[in-house]
C-alpha cells in the first residue's frame, strides 16, 4: 500500500477545527437568541390589545456576548414603556373598590420554557445550524 502525505494538512486541520468551533459558537448564539425571540413572540401573543399597545411594545428580547465564550439572551418587559405591566400580570384593585383580575402573560410562557421547551428549541436550532456545515447532521 502506498503511503503519502498531504502538504499543508496540519494547517487545513487547524482551519477545519476553527470552522467547526466557529459554527458551534454561531449555533449557540443563534439558539440562545432565537429562544429569547420566540418567548417574546409568545408573550406578545398572550397580551390583549389595549388602547395604546404599550404593553405589547414593551416586550423585549436582547442578546449579549461575553469574552469567555458565554452567550446570554433574555426576554423582559421594558418598564419605561409599560410601568403598569405588573398590574396586568398579577391583577389589582381600583380606587372605586372594584378588582381587576390578573391576566398572566409573562410567567406562563417563562414556566413552559423552564420546564423543557428551552432544551427542545435549543436542540432544533443547533441541529439546523450544524446542517449548514455538515449536511449529514452529525456533530
Amino acid at each position: 500500500m502506498a503511503r503519502g502525505s498531504i502538504k499543508g494538512w496540519d494547517e487545513t486541520k487547524r482551519n477545519i477545527n476553527k470552522l467547526a468551533r466557529a459554527a458551534g459558537h454561531q449555533a449557540v448564539r443563534d439558539g440562545v437568541y432565537g429562544i429569547a425571540l420566540d418567548a417574546a413572540a409568545e408573550i406578545r401573543a398572550r397580551i390583549k390589545s389595549g388602547k395604546t399597545g404599550n404593553l405589547k411594545r414593551s416586550v423585549r428580547a436582547r442578546k449579549f456576548s461575553k469574552k469567555n465564550g458565554q452567550f446570554i439572551a433574555f426576554t423582559a418587559i421594558d418598564r419605561k414603556i409599560a410601568p403598569h405591566a405588573h398590574l396586568v400580570e398579577f391583577g389589582h384593585r381600583t380606587l372605586s373598590g372594584s378588582h381587576v383580575a390578573a391576566h398572566p402573560f409573562f410567567r406562563p410562557v417563562m414556566r413552559r420554557y423552564r420546564n423543557g421547551k428551552y432544551l427542545k428549541r435549543m436542540e432544533k436550532v443547533m441541529q439546523g445550524s450544524v446542517r449548514k456545515v455538515r449536511p449529514d447532521g452529525n456533530w
Binding site: F90, H92, R93, S98, A101, P104, P108, R111
Partner: protein, 130 residues
Amino acid sequence: MGIGESLYAYLITVSGVTDLVNRRIHSVVLPQKSPMPAITYQQLIATPTHTMGSDDGPGRDTYDINCWADNYPDAQDLADVVSTALKDLTGTMGSHTVQRILEEDRTDIHDSITETYHIVLEYTINYNPA
C-alpha cells in the same frame, strides 16, 4: 370537581386561613369593595398528562394564590398561613388525591394608588384525577 374547586374546598377548612379571611376566598376576582384581608386563586398553567389511550393521567397545574390586605404585615401573615397549609401538601385535597404541592414563587406587590398590599404565592399541584 376541578382541582381549583378542591383547592378552595381545602383552604376553607384550614382554621388558620379562615381565622384571617373568614370565607373571603374567591376564584379569579374579588367582589366589589370586599373587606380585607382576602384571597383570590387563579389557574396559571394547566398541564394535562396523557397516558396510553386516555387523557385522564395525573394532572400538573400551576395556581396563583393571591393574598390581599390593606397593610403589609397582614398580607404577610395571610401568605404565611396559606404557605404553611399548602407547601409540600400530600394526600386528600377536596375530591382529589394530591401527590405533592410545590411552592414555586412568592412575590410581594404594593399598589401605591389604592394602598393595597398583595402577595402572590405560586404553587404547582401534582394530583391524580378525581
